[in-house]
Symmetry: C2
């Protein structure tokens, strides 16, 4: 079993209104030191061991998890810790 | 200037319908090896150097970035790379 974490961010240059709203709100709360905020998401997957893991994760991202037009993704694979 | 990345996840035990939907969709695309999917978000902040950085980031999370009732957060601080 592997634990895969996929990080999805907006591509450089794509406007991030949610991040802009966070920055504005932080300023109005008194955190003037915040110069920029950008929001991304991550997805933690528990995946059974299988061949071609990296290729399959790339395919999952292209088909479903990320929008390749406006988003970039990267992922880490580690051994899952059984709890 | 520091680059701070805040990772926000649902607390253990809180239902994650978005993650469940992702898992179901991945199954129907043929990725039967995915046993669990959970979704979180991360926020990248560019912050001017200031005293008590960690305490101020904790306060930002409690006041705005995370919902402490259902979400956990953690953050990393690194030196910002000027581009």
């Amino acid at each position: 079993m592997k634990k895969v974490t996929v990080y999805i961010t907006l591509k450089q240059g794509v406007l991030d209104p949610q991040g802009k709203a966070i920055q504005t709100s932080l300023h109005s709360l008194g955190y003037e030191e915040v110069q920029e905020a950008r929001v991304g998401k991550f997805i933690e997957l528990q995946i059974d061991d299988k061949e071609d893991l990296d290729a399959r994760i790339n395919a999952m991202c292209d088909q479903l998890l990320a929008n390749p037009v406006i988003e970039d993704f990267r992922f880490d694979v580690e051994e899952a810790v059984q709890s």
